[in-house]
Symmetry: C2
Subunit: 260 residues, 2 copies
Amino acid sequence: MPITDPTRFVLMHTSHAGNVGAAARAIKVMGFGDLVLVQPRFADMLARDEALAYASGATDVLERARVVDTLAQALDGVTHACATAMTPRDFGAPAQAPRAALPALAAAGQRVAFVFGGERHGMANEDVWRCHSVLSIPTAPDYGSLNLAQAVQLIAYEWRQAVGSFDVVPATPPPQWADAQAVQGTLAHWREALVAVRYLDPAAPKKLLPRLNQLANRLQLTREEVHILRGVARAMQECAAAAGGDRGSKDDTVAGPGLH
Amino acid sequence: MPITDPTRFVLMHTSHAGNVGAAARAIKVMGFGDLVLVQPRFADMLARDEALAYASGATDVLERARVVDTLAQALDGVTHACATAMTPRDFGAPAQAPRAALPALAAAGQRVAFVFGGERHGMANEDVWRCHSVLSIPTAPDYGSLNLAQAVQLIAYEWRQAVGSFDVVPATPPPQWADAQAVQGTLAHWREALVAVRYLDPAAPKKLLPRLNQLANRLQLTREEVHILRGVARAMQECAAAAGGDRGSKDDTVAGPGLH
């Protein structure tokens, strides 16, 4: 899938090449690819070894990225610039949590840029003023220091969720659930088997059966697991049959507290 | 605020000390602090320079972290282990998106651990099976390669949102909005001023006033901005008075297309 989303990510006054590379990777995994640097610490920031290493498979984002001198130059074609600010400002649009603010922005049909300040001081006040809205990621009151690339990752993720998320890759095959009839049949089979192995006394069943039924419901068994449980019950019955009826009185062998 | 949340983050077979440090920082900014490493590449992983550098202000999380040999050892006290898996598995709980799965888990009263595999291959299949649920972060179909610390950051963020988010730090003072009466008064003042400077011809106002009214509503003016706009209107009126009535015929000076 080629990246066609026009969302732009703008990094201002970035100091660490590793963060630039990690930011490129962070936006690419969320399906974005437009990166602009404003006055990075090094002129060759996009080509530095550390940037390339941290970009991993996202070096194409670095290759297409631009370096410019001002925020205004970074915002050509952009109709709505979101500042990110983690520290208080004298002035500017009210700070909003990404999850609260981004769905409405996604629905507004704007061409959006997200703007991130440098590692040490964040965005300059005069650049916050130039933006249409201000995002602040909710963090722990005693330690709110997000790494720059981590902040880019969270905003890219939230924006992807807002504009339409990708599907979850089915990491596991879909389960084949057993229907309730199959589960009840299994429980009836286990009841017989538990009597055969003398764990359950049919004359004094106590609450064992309702407990096993609740356990089975909570298990949400698959069809394969029903086969396994049926097999175990069958093995118990066969074992009891092989042991015969001469194993002494039931009272000696009935199990202890267990599920009773 | 001391960290009292019992949520645990388990990193298995981690190779890079920088990722361990960045993960410590990632969980601390979201108010968590319980980190366990299972068989990291280096025995001194928690004390390596790179881990400490990337932890930034979260070295206390590294100091309290444990190193163990097996996933089972990492899960003492945990009642629900969430695997993270970005690649398909033969077997295991169905993969769910964090945003879909975590609110119900947060409400279930479990003691939760999130488990992350190594940088290269993710979690081993036999460790995925040991977990109660599987999370998969939705990423771009053509490039889903999240950095380990970024994955930890996103899960920590989503879990924080699910269990109860921190407030957004008010990065800017709350705006003092102007009420609609003040805005209408300002528009009336501007109407007079625009007539005085001969931008508006009262005999042929066209759609200028409704357009300015719509613009003013969209602006959502603050009280301070109303004062500024009133001041500009006053300056226009004073300028027109100083220029007197002898600037030639109105027809020569009326403005061009503009907002008409």
